[in-house]
């Protein structure tokens, strides 16, 4: 199992119950993290979209996660 620290913003902060969450998953990719998050927090599936950012940039599903990476949940943005 791999342990990652996730930071959440906007509506995901409310769905996960706080800014920071530690999650343990089997895989090491963004896609594996997404699967685990959807299982643990099925309400995430009701969002219009959910992107995952790694080290301040939007990440594709096959990106490998490192223990020191900054991982963030990016629900639909609405700045402006």
């Amino acid at each position: 199992m791999n342990k990652y620290r996730i930071i959440a913003f906007g509506i995901t902060k409310e769905l996960l119950g706080g800014r920071e969450t530690i999650i343990e998953i089997k895989g090491q990719t963004v896609g594996a993290l997404r699967t685990a998050l959807n299982e643990r927090y099925p309400q995430l599936l009701n969002l219009r979209s959910l992107l995952i950012a790694v080290n301040n940039d939007y990440a594709d599903e096959d990106v490998l996660l490192g223990a020191s990476d900054e991982i963030a949940l990016i629900p639909p943005v609405s700045g402006g």
Partner: protein
């Protein structure tokens, strides 16, 4: 040998300093809890070689979906917002001859009428300034990790978070 390497390094150092000095007065990215001073942003992007200066000012609307908005709560993933805006500006600088540019976005609680975002650019001619300004604000709205929650008399809602059909 060492002397020449040092000399070459030193000679490249001078123009780099000048570039940094120039840039520090003409570009700006800011995510702030304080109210935005529009005149200060105009001053930041002003350039004697510019023939046009274009400013977009986004303000808080007092209504959404036919309901009165009491206030908005803005939140940003600040380090990533700055990184994404930097990327947008790199692209804009390739497409248009920008002399100066600034992007400033408010976070925190904003009431109707308050300024939430300002984009300003200066260019030699006006067409480029209009196009660049529109590209920048459109891109910031699409890519910068910034969110707003509308607070109504009877509840609150994160804007665009859920599909339209799920709205009550």
């Amino acid at each position: 040998m060492f002397f020449f390497v040092f000399l070459a390094y030193f000679l490249t150092f001078i123009p780099r300093c000048i570039l940094l000095f120039n840039q520090s007065f003409q570009i700006m990215i800011k995510i702030t809890e304080k109210s935005i001073d529009v005149q200060k942003i105009i001053d930041t992007v002003s350039s004697l070689s510019a023939g046009a200066l274009n400013v977009f000012i986004g303000t808080v609307r007092n209504n959404a979906n036919g309901k009165n908005v009491l206030w908005l709560e803005y939140e940003a993933y600040e380090t990533m917002a700055v990184a994404q805006i930097r990327k947008i500006m790199d692209e804009a600088s390739h497409r248009w001859p920008l002399l100066g540019w600034a992007v400033s976005h408010r976070i925190g609680t904003l009431k109707p009428g308050e300024v939430s975002v300002v984009v300003a650019v200066s260019t030699p001619h006006r067409k480029d300034s209009f196009e660049a300004c529109q590209y920048i604000i459109d891109s910031v709205k699409a890519a910068a990790p910034i969110w707003k929650k509308e607070v109504f008399e009877d509840g609150e809602e994160w804007v665009s978070a859920r599909p339209e059909m799920m709205k009550a």
